[in-house]
């Protein structure tokens, strides 16, 4: 039985849902802006679960009032990295919070082969586990069928 029947990387919010449309993305951004979050756009072609920090596209977008500005940066990022994973992050700068409040994937490669779970038998009967993406054998920038 497949544990993840959609075969898609599920990280952050909405990742079990069908892909958000641009209108839905901008509604989410609008919601974040209303709560005073600063948005930023991140991309990677190594979506390993432990790869917490992706590359940021440009600078974090502080002091924005409208989703159109964030959407412009996202459009630019999609143009540069069409087959990368791209996610939106909302940073809550409230004193004492100062962390990511929202995060969701907005762009995926066309084919996501998923992860291999490697089992290693060690001393006694103990097992060591490690996950490895099927796509990450290729060097950075050439994964997921990128040109």
């Amino acid at each position: 039985m497949m544990t993840n029947p959609t075969g898609r990387v599920t990280q952050g919010q909405f990742s079990f849902l069908p892909d958000l449309t641009d209108a839905e993305i901008s509604l989410q951004i609008e919601y974040g802006l209303e709560r005073g979050y600063a948005w930023s756009v991140e991309y990677t072609d190594d979506p390993h679960p432990r790869n917490t920090y992706w590359e940021m596209f440009g600078l974090p977008l502080f002091d924005l009032r409208d989703a159109a500005g964030v959407m412009a940066v996202l459009a630019e990022c999609r143009r540069v990295f069409p087959t990368h994973y791209i996610r939106m992050l909302a940073f809550d700068a409230t004193r004492g919070v100062e962390s990511i409040a929202m995060s969701f994937i907005v762009n995926r490669p066309p084919k996501e082969p998923g992860f291999h779970l490697e089992r290693q038998e060690t001393d006694g009967r103990s097992m060591r586990y490690t996950t490895r993406s099927y796509a990450s054998d290729a060097p950075e920038g050439e994964r997921y069928g990128a040109a």
Binding site: E30, L59, L64, G69
Partner: protein, 317 residues
């Protein structure tokens, strides 16, 4: 894309002739009165009339623009082909004639009519748009534009963007990005350029692309003597001061003399003059240490505070 327009809160029970329109909230507005009531834009227009002194031609133009936008809205409701109107503007006039103030009100009007989504004003100058080295300008300009999305971008002294004497100046790059956004993201932001009349004209002559994308040119006239005096009255009242015995007449005389001098910046000069008078009033009161000061004393600008000004050929300032 669908956005909620906060300005479009239906005016509560006005009991006008169009009671039917209120019951059917979804029905699109058919009359000018409906749009005005829905958008509450008339309150802003009245505010402009009441709170801004003088500027009659500007006020008329603002009313004309508002009328055009309201009619466009009605046309759209009828399904008539209506391209998003170009709303970029140019405000020309001498310093202190109220360009920034009017721009703020304009943002409010556009917001209430639903032509910009947020209605904030981002005021910038050349320094905020143009970078210091190669590759610095584009991200800087984009950042400012992103901040202004959903509102109004006000570029003060816009002619400094273009420096013909230096062909490697990065200003041209900023202008190109600006043009691109003004054309392609018309419904996301409105750009208002401001500056002196003659220098703006030269600027437009050398950047025809920019001039052709600006639909509305508003010229701000200088204030007359009486208007400046009225502005002074209002500023003083806002700061909770008042003129003492004969001080208002002295202030009028001050303005007459000040108008003849160079670098007169209209309302801004009035504000600065009032600030200096407050300074002199404070030192006058400060000098008298033992005296118990009443509320009246603290509020009153005396004629002597004005007389001490340099334009009377007397004191040092």
């Amino acid at each position: 894309m669908s956005y909620s327009l906060p300005g479009f809160i239906a005016a509560a029970g006005k009991g006008g002739p169009d009671a039917a329109a209120e019951t059917a909230a979804a029905a699109p507005a058919r009359s000018v009165a409906d749009v005005l009531a829905e958008s509450m834009v008339e309150a802003v227009l009245d505010d402009i009339d009441r709170e801004l002194i003088g500027l009659a031609p500007v006020k008329q133009r603002i009313r004309d623009i508002a009328a055009l936008l309201v009619i466009d809205k009605l046309r759209a409701n009828q399904g008539l082909a209506a391209q998003a109107p170009s709303l970029h503007m140019c405000f020309t006039g001498n310093p202190g004639t109220g360009k920034t103030t009017v721009a703020m009100r304009m943002a409010e009007i556009l917001h209430r009519l639903g032509y910009v989504r947020k209605g904030h004003l981002v005021a910038v100058t050349r320094d905020d748009l143009v970078g210091q080295y190669i590759g610095h300008t584009a991200p800087k300009t984009r950042e400012v534009l992103n901040k202004a999305m959903g509102g109004v971008l006000f570029i003060d002294e816009a002619y400094y963007l273009y420096r013909p004497e230096n062909e490697r100046d990065y200003g041209q790059e900023a202008i190109e990005i600006l043009l691109q956004v003004m054309e392609n993201q018309r419904d996301d932001l409105v750009v208002i350029l401001a500056g002196y009349k003659d220098r703006m004209d030269t600027f437009f002559a050398s950047n025809p692309g920019l001039s052709s994308r600006i639909a509305h040119h508003l010229d701000f006239p200088d204030y007359a003597h009486g208007e400046l005096l009225a502005i002074g009255d209002r500023m003083l009242a806002d700061m909770s001061y008042r003129f003492g015995e004969g001080a208002r007449a002295t202030f009028g005389e001050y303005l007459t003399r000040r108008l003849e001098r160079p670098h007169f910046a209209n309302a801004r000069s009035v504000r600065n003059a009032l600030d200096r008078m407050r300074l002199r009033q404070a030192s006058r009161l400060f000098a008298d240490r033992e005296r118990a000061l009443t509320r009246e004393d603290l509020c009153t600008i005396e004629a002597a505070d004005i007389r001490a000004s340099r334009v009377f050929g007397g004191g040092p300032t």
